[in-house]
């Protein structure tokens, strides 16, 4: 038996030595773990963030916002606005080609804007002002408006879902309600469809014929110079495993490392943690206006006094390094971020909340609060809300479910005892909630509004005014009025902001401060 034991031990040692991991692949292949796997490939058909990120890899945009949020030309060489503000003329840059080698034309862009305008909420609003989009020659097209609006530039530079990505005319003419199958773009990377394995990896290679702008990259604007020959997005669903793989050098980047694992990564000298302000997110509470008691504005208003942001942020993110208490509806430190009207609210003034409930005649109807249990960033929100609401005098029926069940249930307008709901909480990335037109939960067009279906004529009037107003200073004043109206009517309640850091190996540099993670400008040494 001793002989057998020795043989087994020797075999194990030999196996261990010979299986030593091979060194990481050299060259310019960057392996990243994104927040989700790529399953759908049409960034106009869905608003999922991973598909938006996919879009930024292979498509380009006419305009783009730089690091400060200023709108800059991207595929466009120059644009002019007529004196009456009703005609925009865009001229494309020279040398832009599709991945199949054909030149990018004004007809392609006109068709792409129309398809985006049919699907995107902001695009639809913009298109309601548009009389015609007309190609003038191969490189020039005009957008003629029925009346002036500030939405043309804001819309065409929209940084988040749905982004107005440019596609070849033959692709852009696909029914907006059907997914495209031809994934020819003109962006700095080409999608390698043959290597795409959903649930495993998504592969891109550098587009050699891409012609970057001459300006340095800034945000989503400037020169999109691809330094990487190949980018692989790997689907590692287990966060701990992603961290292990990053520490070992098997991958180069984690787009959204879990906050509780950041301390482990911080201690590793080979890892860089980046806090990108543009990747900030905002927690929100969404009441359902259709159902009693939240059909009563005064009862909804009691929530502003029941809640405080610190409790939510500490329960979910847990570190002061990554949170910011901010009562602004349109995100602090962004062009329309304002603290107007926020004094005294979100301070857990229980007495005031109780008074409001009493004045409103709250009869103790239990509030069905949907609790998402499987997404770490959201799991602890509902228990905190329940506790704070109960202190204020609400009766709360917190119902736990996975996020996808919540997504299905929130679309139901039925009463809560028949499968409907009263409230849920979620988070939005900065880029989606920076103004009254793009912020979906501010939309108060009753049946046409997002889940929760707020119905508020005055709010819709303000949003229309914002859309019509081309002057940014006046837009800011309207955005403030929207914020005040939201505090009065409670379309949503902002519950604080948090940073979502990016983790990179030290040898990866050039990550851009932008509202979406992009891979141009990134270098791997």
């Amino acid at each position: 038996m001793g002989g057998i034991r020795r043989a087994v031990f020797a075999a194990l040692c030999a196996a261990g030595l010979s299986f030593a991991t091979a060194p990481a692949m050299a060259g310019t292949t960057l392996k990243a773990v994104m927040h989700s796997d790529v399953k759908i490939l049409d960034p106009i058909w869905t608003t999922a963030y991973i598909v938006r990120n996919f879009g930024y890899m292979i498509y380009d945009t006419l305009l783009a916002q730089d690091e400060k949020g200023d709108i800059k030309p991207q595929m466009v060489d120059k644009y002019e606005v007529s004196a009456d503000g009703k005609t925009y003329t865009f001229t494309l840059r020279e040398g832009l080609v599709w991945h199949d080698g054909n030149p990018v034309t004004s007809e392609d862009c006109a068709a792409s804007i129309k398809r985006w305008g049919a699907r995107d909420a902001m695009g639809q609003k913009m298109m309601s002002f548009v009389e015609a989009i007309t190609p003038v020659d191969a490189k020039t097209f005009t957008i003629k408006l029925k009346e002036p609006t500030g939405l043309v530039l804001l819309g065409l530079s929209k940084p988040s879902s749905n982004v107005p990505f440019m596609m070849p005319k033959r692709v852009a003419e696909t029914d907006p309600y059907k997914q495209i199958e031809d994934l020819t773009g003109s962006g700095p990377f080409v999608f390698v469809k043959d290597e795409w394995k959903p649930g495993d990896k998504t592969v891109f290679v550098k587009f050699d014929k891409y012609k970057p702008r001459s300006e340095p990259a800034s945000g989503l604007a400037g020169g999109k110079v691809a330094h990487l020959d190949r980018v692989e997005w790997l689907a590692i669903s287990d966060q701990q495993q992603a961290v292990n793989a990053l520490q070992k050098g098997e991958i180069d980047m984690i787009e959204q490392p879990s906050h509780d694992l950041l301390d482990v990564l911080k201690k590793d000298p080979d890892i860089t943690i980046l806090n990108i302000p543009q990747l900030k997110a905002q927690y929100v509470f969404r009441p359902n206006w259709l159902q009693k008691p939240f059909d009563n504005p005064k009862i909804r208003q009691a929530l502003w006094y029941a809640f405080n942001q610190e409790d939510f942020l500490m329960a979910t993110i847990g570190s002061e390094d990554y949170i910011k208490e901010c009562k602004a509806l349109f995100i602090c430190d962004t062009p329309f971020g304002s603290l107007a009207g926020t004094d005294g609210i979100l301070t857990s003034n229980v007495k005031k909340a109780q008074e409001l409930l009493k004045e409103a005649g709250y009869d103790g109807t239990p509030v069905v609060l949907m609790h998402s249990t499987d997404l770490k960033a959201l799991t602890n929100l509902a228990p905190v809300a329940k506790s704070l609401m109960e202190k204020a005098g609400f009766k709360v029926d917190m119902q736990s479910m996975d996020w996808q069940t919540l997504v299905a249930r929130r679309a139901k307008k039925d009463p809560p005892n028949a499968g409907g709901w009263h409230a849920f909480m979620t988070s939005w990335v900065t880029a989606d909630v920076m103004n009254p037109v793009s912020a979906a939960y501010v939309n108060s067009s009753c049946d046409k509004a997002s889940f929760g279906w707020p119905c508020d004529e005055k709010m819709e009037k303000l949003r229309d005014e914002f859309a019509r107003e081309p002057d940014p200073a006046k837009q800011k004043a309207i955005a403030e009025a929207v914020q005040l109206r939201n505090i009065e009517m409670t379309q949503l309640i902002p519950l604080g902001e948090y940073l979502q850091p990016v983790a990179l190996r030290k040898n990866v540099t050039g990550f851009l401060a932008a509202p979406a993670p992009v891979f141009w400008n990134l270098e791997k040494k």
Binding site: G16, P198, L234, S237, Q241, A408
Partner: protein
Amino acid sequence: MNMLAYIFRRLLQTIPVMLVVAVFIFLMLRLTPSDPAAIIAGDNATAEQVAQIRSQLGLDQPMLQQFVIWIGKVLHGDFGESFFFKKTVAELIGERIEPTLSLAFFTIVIAVLVAVPLGVLAAHRQGSWVDRLVMGFSVLGFSVPTFVVGYLLIYVFAVWLNWLPVQGYQHISDGIWGWAQRLILPALTLSVIYIALIARMTRASVLEVLSEDYIRTARAKGQIERRVLFRHALRNAAVPIVTVIGLGIALLIGGVVVTESLYTIPGLGRLTVDAVLARDYPTIQAVILLFSFTYVMINLAVDLTYTLLDPRIRY
């Protein structure tokens, strides 16, 4: 001829089993409060957009009509197209079968090679420290969840000793060494529970056989102990052991779900998890049908193996 008739009869019996599974999984998915259209549409989608997608997917049709369409296609070998991946379900399963088969093969080989000798050894040294050690390991193997074993092995062999990769899979066509290297930790993780199960059963069966007269006769004839154990005892104890191994292979179907997710192996287990999370009905239905069919076939194979191991068994 009897045997062929038996196999034919058993194959016929799979038809109602598969039909029940099909009805059950179809109803379970439709009655669960979920909506693939809402998931596909994304957070910014309006109710109209969600409704439009629901209509495109045919989910606005009456449930019976949806079932008839689906089962009709399945009977023609068409499992439909994934809601999400724009690929046929058959194509998706085809891509994922190699990693799962590889993992299952590695696991069962490790489990049998380790567990059977351990079980025989424990029976041979009944009551000794070796027996207690094997049985102690067996209890531990049953008790510790797969993901805990997985994290432990990853920490020791991948992070600390740096001998093996943390995660991932390499197709066999890209090199047998890389393929094997990436399967060692997942297979070890998954095999722990089967080693425990098979070792216990082997020990119990061998112990029972060791008290038989013919073992005493073999020893009296002066045969060496190894021959007595492996030729006489193990062979006659094989029927229950093969049953457990067969069950183990069938149970692997469940085990690969956790292990593949942990080690990022793009197999059928991960496909199942992804499909369930995304409520990808066509994929879930096809994978569950495939798993059920595999389960039935393994049971048939185990039953047939009995006749090879014990000539007294006839069907």
